[in-house]
Amino acid sequence: MAREFRLGGAPHLPAATSVRTVMGKVLLALLPGVALSTAWHGPGVLLQAALACAFALLLEAAMLRLRGRPLRPFLGDLSAPLTAVLFALCLPPWAPWWIAAVGMVAAIVFAKHLYGGLGYNLFNPAMVGYALVLVAFTRELSGWPPLDAPIPPGALLDGVFGGGVPWDAMAQATPLDTLRDQLGQGRTVAEAQAGDDGRSAWLALAWTLGGLWLLQQRVIHWHVPVGVLAGVLAVALPLWLYDTGRHASPWFHLTHGALALGAFFIATDPVSGAATPRGRLLFGAGVGAMTVLVRTFGAYPDGVAFGVLLMNACAPLLDRWLKPRPFGHAR
């Protein structure tokens, strides 16, 4: 007796992965860095992440509803929580709650859904959100609590929800801030870094560990991190060799601020980045170079967000220029 079967297109094998798996692995890879950051800066790190996640999911659901898209597949793809966590990791742990709210409106509503939602955003949503609050609320974003004196939970809650943090009294400058201020006052790099215990290198290492795992899992490709490294070296090394007293070393740049986090987790965002292998190398190099340039000559202590956003704008062009030669085509 002949039997009938349901048809389906090739390939017939189950899909190797899903968007949810990809985003979930990136979130998982953030754990070492998040853990270390929490150990140093206290539970405020987790509180900021949770706040941003809540706003992100709410806004995502609202925008999906407004745009007439199904909620379940898109809320479950974990892209909004990832955006939220990456954004929150850039905030001081005691930042008031409305910073996360404003940042997520910029990220989820403007940068993501007004451009067409998942897969269509030209700019990295987390960095759009961060750049906006950084420019708009510089004071709230500049003070970080001292590393060795975690804020008591009461003060933390008061600061986040009540606006009662005595910013100037408790805040401590980050090494990047210190470097900028001291150099501005005519001191040398060595003098500026006298109080730097090199601890931030450990955080960079934690991000790197997560990043290496992502590479091993084939979630990210090597091109962007290697490009960032090359970009940092290309700008920082000549400057440093030209005047070691006026310019920080490439090692200092790589181990401070958001560079390691950016190289493995932010500049590797596939949607807003380049898609061709050579395009990704150049994309990473641009981020690395821009970061050092902003840190050295710009008005802000760190420049990862600006580097990423600038390169986002260049990504389509890079892909166009650096299209690989198809198999069997003339060199």
């Binding site: 002949a2 039997r3 079967f5 389906g8 189950p14 899909a15 061709t276 198999f327 069997g328 003339a330």
Partner: protein, 511 residues
């Protein structure tokens, strides 16, 4: 010649779970003849064959029952019996439409096999005669493309590649063929090499096909004319272009043929069929086929007659399991899903694969592309699958062409690794069809334009000629007047004469 072969990497590719054990656990079995064989007239690239038998006619094994027309292949009766019909029947073809087939009721008592004369002294036979034998035996490429083999033997070749790199999961017919009939593959390779004048022969086998490698090395012990090369197991290495790249480092030009590089590639099954045709006089009437997958009770590799219904083959493998969900002819990456098992085994079918729901893509909704680039990483044609998809969605076919869609080999890796579960291969198939339609439209409109322009040019030319004639006449008329000017009377007489003649003609016309 036995110097270790240097191997090269091809772009992209992926290691896939192999699942080869299922159909290689036991030796291959001869599939009993079914009561009825259905032989499609078109089982090959090119035109359908023309039947040479009529309903009611008795046929014997090996008898030619349909003749190749143009590019194509002859068809032979796999068993003795009676032709009961030449009619449309469901076939395993992409269109899903029924196609003309010769239907034979098998009757082993109907007569002795009528084989071609064996040619054991083939090394002394002219290449052209050997090529004619391959044509007479109806041999087509058994790796899947079913291109008439003789049609590939016309150009001078330096390197002959025998393709035993069976890279798709589950399929194991080449593995079993090599294990059991490596000498036939070897002899077929030598015959093919003689026909095209190849100075080197490489038998390429994936390094995970241990049994096949051992058998091939044993068959070639002491021989130095065929190099057995173990190539890394990575999908889609068995693709002709990928394998040639691995063995030679060269890329077959886009739109070109391996022969452009002096290379010819034949599947090992094709080589064995060539040996059978030359050494035994046996036309292509049976083949190795794996009946496998988690959806069959007892996976096995069979030696089955062409035309055997798939239903019959599956019965030989213990029948379907309860959770059988999809029937595929070919492998899980490039194979074609069949709507029914009431279709016959064709020359090109290397595998009957029955998959269960657990081995199929789930129905998770398709999400937008997140440009993760996994498809770029695995693409063996070094394309940008995500950009192709983008431009296809946008209907921008100029960009689609610029992104070299026609170089896509439809290996299925991009769709397999896509986290957004986009059916990329279906997009590309559609896109290729659209490109063909557009090329045809362009050809037609070019033709129409040429015609229009030719007509316009002709009309203009005629106008110009007429104008030139008039001008010439006008130029000559005053000259004549001028010539007669010295005698106005004679001129006036002549004019009157002409007028009278003209009137007479008019009268004659009027009468």
């Amino acid at each position: 010649m036995n110097a270790p072969q240097r191997l090269f990497a091809f772009p992209g590719g992926l290691r896939l779970p192999e699942h080869k054990d299922a159909a290689t656990r036991a030796p291959s079995r001869a599939c009993p003849l079914p009561p009825r064989l259905v032989l499609p007239l078109s089982q090959h690239a090119g035109q359908a064959a023309r039947p040479e038998v009529a309903p009611g006619e008795r046929v014997v094994r090996g008898q030619r029952i349909a003749r190749a027309e143009g590019l194509g292949a002859h068809l032979h009766a796999p068993a003795a019996g009676v032709v009961v019909a030449i009619e449309d029947h469901p076939v395993p073809h992409a269109s899903g439409l029924p196609a003309p087939c010769i239907v034979i009721d098998v009757d082993p008592a109907a007569g002795e096999a009528a084989l071609l004369p064996a040619l054991p002294d083939w090394p002394a036979i002219e290449p052209a005669a050997l090529r004619a034998r391959i044509e007479d035996a109806g041999i087509v490429g058994l790796g899947g493309a079913a291109f008439p083999t003789a049609g590939k033997l016309g150009r001078p070749i330096d390197l002959l590649v025998l393709n035993g790199a069976e890279c798709e999961p589950w399929i194991a017919c080449d593995e079993m063929l090599l294990r059991e009939r490596a000498p036939a593959v070897r002899d077929g390779g030598r015959i093919l090499a003689r026909i095209v004048g190849a100075s080197r022969i490489v038998l390429a086998i994936e390094d995970r096909m241990h049994g096949a490698l051992a058998a091939a090395r044993e068959a070639l012990a002491g021989a130095d004319d065929i190099a057995v090369v173990a190539v890394p197991t990575i999908y889609p290495e068995g693709g002709e272009r990928q394998l040639i790249r691995v063995l030679t480092g060269a890329e077959v030009p886009s739109g070109g043929l391996p022969a452009d590089l002096g290379v010819l590639c034949h599947n090992v099954g094709t080589a064995a069929a060539v040996a059978d045709a030359v050494l035994r006089g046996l036309p292509l009437v049976e083949r190795y086929v794996s009946v496998t997958g988690a959806g069959v009770a007892d996976p096995v590799t069979l030696r089955a007659a062409i035309g055997t219904p798939i239903e019959w083959l599956v019965a030989q493998a213990g029948g379907y399991r309860a959770d059988a969900e999809r029937l595929v002819m070919g492998g899980p990456m490039m194979g074609r899903a069949l709507p029914t098992d009431a279709v016959p085994l064709v020359k090109a079918a290397n595998c009957v694969l029955v998959l269960t729901a657990a081995e199929l893509r789930d129905d998770a909704p398709e999400l937008p592309c997140i440009r993760c680039g996994e498809c770029v990483r695995v693409c063996p044609a070094r394309l940008l699958p995500q950009q192709l998809h983008w431009h296809l969605r946008a209907g921008d076919f100029d960009e689609v062409e610029a992104h070299a869609l026609r170089d896509c080999i439809e290996c299925g890796l991009c769709a397999h690794v896509c986290p957004s579960h986009i059916p990329l291969v279906e997009w590309y198939r559609w896109g290729k069809t659209e490109l063909r339609v557009r090329a045809e439209d362009r050809r037609r409109s070019d033709l129409a334009r040429e015609r229009f322009e030719a007509r316009k040019a002709r009309l203009e030319r005629e106008d110009a000629e007429r104008a030139a004639r008039l001008a010439a006449r006008r130029a000559s008329a005053p000259a004549a007047t001028a010539g007669d000017a010295d005698d106005p009377v004679a001129a006036a007489l002549a004019r009157a004469e002409a007028k009278k003649r003209g009137a007479a003609t008019e009268d004659a016309d009027g009468a």
